[in-house]
């Protein structure tokens, strides 16, 4: 079975919510819609206090190219536009909307029929995607229209759809592939048309056999789409590793996927593209997995963007009693939350409750030079060395040892028998190196 060549680890999967049919989280009293979704510039508010908005109405206009439109996920009255905390702990402007009813824009097609025909041209599709505020739903939330706009002189040859979902616990993409297989395949054809490519590869890890079967069934109805089962190995869902697993090509240092002819989109993004192009529905909701070892009923839920996580938790039966840590996203790359008064953003893929017995890090011991971090690193780096250089603040040495290649997957910290905070030091070093670079350019 295909996989990437360098490093990688097997992590116990804990896909507790696998196969749980999606349920809909009811509307909260107020939503807090962030105008910035982690990547790019915040969008410019298009409404003011007291305005009435409908579901799907534009409330934030993209500011420049690397920025995304924001639409109202609910109908109601704009309470205020103010800064609010995001899951990263930063304050960004957000639109607070008091929910009144559930009144959708008439232009949005809410019929359940799957619409297969798309008459739009490549540039019209990309324009439509940009208008609909679609960003990468795998977590990085990079605006999708930017990824689909191929720089001059480059050529996309293959579209890669990321259905790996290599993070333990998360099942939102898995469930989407089970329930919306047909729509996803239509989305793939639309993306292929947008990129003007004849070939698409859908990579799915073999621990989701039912999803592989379902997607294969629908992929047969279209030309040029191949479903590729992948070995279950972390971090297969990282862009560079997925491209290598599927095509055998490696993105060069400092390069983009398109340098090897590939463009990668997540399955959830692909579904959002389908809804935007075929149903005229902007990105206003997504599936999140709410899970944890102590949860009585882990599950997958459709939730409107901007819904406070505290409201989501109430709806799924409250926080398990022994919770010591709450993570937005997966356990390997997600963010630990200090409060549930944070809104669901476009990139929020999961909510994970970690029991207090597992919430604390163990005591750090000496490096015993076991090489486990070196063997685990999917980028072929030496985490033990980078950490010891980082401790001594030898940033130039860190750069020479390719610290900037690090994709922050956390495999090194996960595997270390001495519980050394390898990734913390590497991240720290990357920031320092980038600051030096910026300063020397000025």
């Amino acid at each position: 079975m295909k996989t990437f060549k360098i490093g990688g680890i097997y992590i116990e999967e804990y896909k507790l919510s696998a196969g749980e049919r999606t349920k809909v989280i009811t509307l909260p009293q107020q939503v807090v819609v962030p105008l910035r979704h982690y990547a790019g510039k915040p969008s410019i508010p298009q409404v003011k206090r007291g305005d009435f908005v409908k579901v799907g109405q534009l409330i934030g206009l993209a500011d420049g190219f690397v920025s995304a439109n924001v639409h109202s996920p609910v109908s109601g009255k704009v309470a205020k536009i103010d800064n609010a905390l995001d899951a990263y702990g930063y304050k960004y402007p957000s639109v607070f909307i008091d929910v009144i009813g559930d009144d959708w824009l008439e232009t949005i097609d809410l019929t359940p029929e799957v619409n297969h025909t798309c008459e739009l041209t490549s540039s019209e599709i990309i324009k439509k995607i940009a208008e609909s505020g679609i960003v990468g739903l795998g977590g990085a939330t990079f605006p999708t229209h930017v990824k689909l706009t191929i720089p001059a002189g480059k050529k996309a040859e293959v579209l890669i759809i990321n259905g790996a979902e290599c993070e333990p616990f998360l099942t939102c993409d898995h469930q989407l592939m089970l329930e919306k297989g047909e729509e996803i395949i239509v989305g793939v054809t639309i993306l292929m048309k947008a990129l003007n490519v004849k070939k698409a590869l859908i990579g799915i890890e073999c621990n989701k056999n039912d999803a592989i079967i379902n997607i294969k069934k629908w992929a047969k109805t279209e030309e040029g789409i191949e479903v590729v089962p992948l070995q279950t190995k972390y971090p297969q869902g990282c862009e560079k590793q997925l491209i290598e697993a599927l095509t055998g090509r490696r993105v060069p240092r400092g390069g983009l996927p398109v340098d090897v002819g590939a463009v990668v989109q997540n399955v959830a993004t692909t579904f959002a593209v389908y809804e935007a192009v075929q149903k005229n529905k902007p990105l206003i909701e997504r599936i999140i997995t709410v899970t944890g070892k102590s949860m009585s009923k882990p599950g997958n839920f459709w939730v409107r963007i901007g819904t406070p996580l505290s409201h989501v938790v109430e709806q799924v039966g409250g926080i398990p009693e022994d919770t010591g840590k709450i993570v937005a996203g997966g356990p390997m790359m997600g963010r630990a939350l200090f409060s549930l008064e944070v809104a669901v953003a476009k990139g929020t893929s999961g909510l994970l409750f970690i029991p207090s017995t597992e919430a604390y890090r163990k005591k750090v011991e000496n490096c015993i030079r076991c090489s486990k971090c070196v063997f685990a690193c999917p980028m072929g780096l030496e985490p033990y060395l980078l950490m010891s250089l980082g401790e001594k603040m030898l940033w130039e040495e860190m750069q020479k040892n390719q610290a900037l290649d690090c994709i922050e997957c956390g495999s090194c910290s996960f595997i270390c028998p001495s519980h050394r905070p390898l990734l913390d030091y590497i991240k720290n070093g990357k920031v320092a190196i980038n600051n030096i670079k910026i300063n020397s350019n000025n």
């Binding site: 560079k240 290598e244 970690i354 011991e365 780096l381 030496e382 290649d405 910290s413 028998p417």
Partner: protein, 321 residues
């Protein structure tokens, strides 16, 4: 709810620990230990227990009273050092010599550099070589293997296969005896079968990778094969070299010591080839019949150099133009 833990990712851990790794090594040593008890009886028991207790005791005493640092005897690394040291000793060695060896292993080999993780040389081999140089007679008098032998200091002695080869005297044990361990030698090195069972366990549990042991064994096999082909009188068959002396014990358990071996796969292979070459050179042309411990210690010295120049294969080797 008021006490949520907030820390950077990753939020889960493999559950692996230094203690677990050390326990894994100890489990892998059980077959060889049972073989030692079978062939060398009471002597093997006394030597191993003395070495383990004295290694742990010296680590405790040095950390408690000399360094006044945190105690690390709970992580079993001193037990591993002690057991490996005893595996490298003849089973009729007097207790006081074993204690001196343990002091050299833990005191000089490990604690003087800052404890586990900081020692450049394999502590157990430091202990063994210290004794070999200081007490050459006692360290090269090997008891004859007699099942469940109850004699200790007064055990009947015999020469090892490698000494026989070196001095061209006497007949070698049969290949089957060499494989099972029915021959003279250090107490843990004789049974190839038991050592290989432990090797499989270490590989399955992913405690070590194959790179170091296999490159050592392959190098020795190829090098001795060539020498034997050129001059059968000078060098025995490759299989004889693989099954005798401390080669398997060294390749599987001593050279693979985490702290003192290289960090990258290619580095490990270079290190293994180095050990194989030096071992054969000492065995064939040197004055000692066995060269494994010297070879490992010499290559331990090269480990930092190998780490500095042999980097793992990077994902992004091609740089964007």
């Amino acid at each position: 709810m008021n006490n949520l833990v907030v820390s950077p990712a990753p939020h889960i851990h493999s559950g692996n620990s230094v203690t677990k790794e050390m326990k894994g090594v100890l489990i892998a040593l059980i077959p060889a230990y049972l073989a030692a008890l079978y062939y060398f009886g009471l002597g093997a028991f006394i030597v191993s227990v003395t070495a383990v207790i004295s290694c742990v005791a010296f680590e405790y005493l040095i950390q408690r009273f000399l360094l006044k640092s945190e105690l690390t005897i709970n992580n079993f690394s001193a037990v591993v050092t002690g057991l490996l040291l005893s595996f490298n000793l003849p089973s009729n060695l007097p207790i006081w010599i074993i204690i001196i060896g343990s002091l050299a292993a833990i005191g000089i080999g490990k604690m003087s550099f800052g404890g586990l993780g900081n020692n450049p040389f394999n502590p157990a081999l430091i202990g063994r070589v210290f004794l070999l140089i200081s007490f050459p007679v006692q360290m090269t008098t090997w008891p004859k293997p007699i099942p469940f032998n109850m004699a200790y200091l007064d055990a009947e002695t015999s020469a090892t296969a490698l000494t026989l080869l070196k001095e061209h005297a006497g007949t070698l044990p049969s290949t089957l005896d060499m494989f099972l361990g029915n021959m003279g030698g250090s107490l843990g090195e004789v049974s190839a079968l038991a050592l290989l069972i432990g090797f499989i366990y270490l590989l399955v549990k992913k405690i070590i990778s194959w790179h170091i042991p296999i490159s050592i064994l392959a190098t020795v096999a190829i090098f001795t094969g060539i020498l034997h082909f050129i001059h059968p009188e000078m060098c025995a068959l490759p299989l004889t070299h693989l099954l005798t002396g401390g080669l398997l014990l060294g390749a599987i358990y001593m050279a693979t010591d985490y702290v003192t071996s290289p960090m990258s796969k290619l580095g490990m292979i270079i290190y293994g080839i180095g050990i194989g070459l030096i071992t054969v050179i000492i065995r064939v042309w040197g004055s000692y019949p066995e060269g494994m411990s010297f070879a490992i210690l010499i290559m331990n010295g090269f480990t930092p150099l190998i780490n500095a120049y042999v980097k793992p294969k990077r994902f992004a080797e091609v740089v964007k133009q």
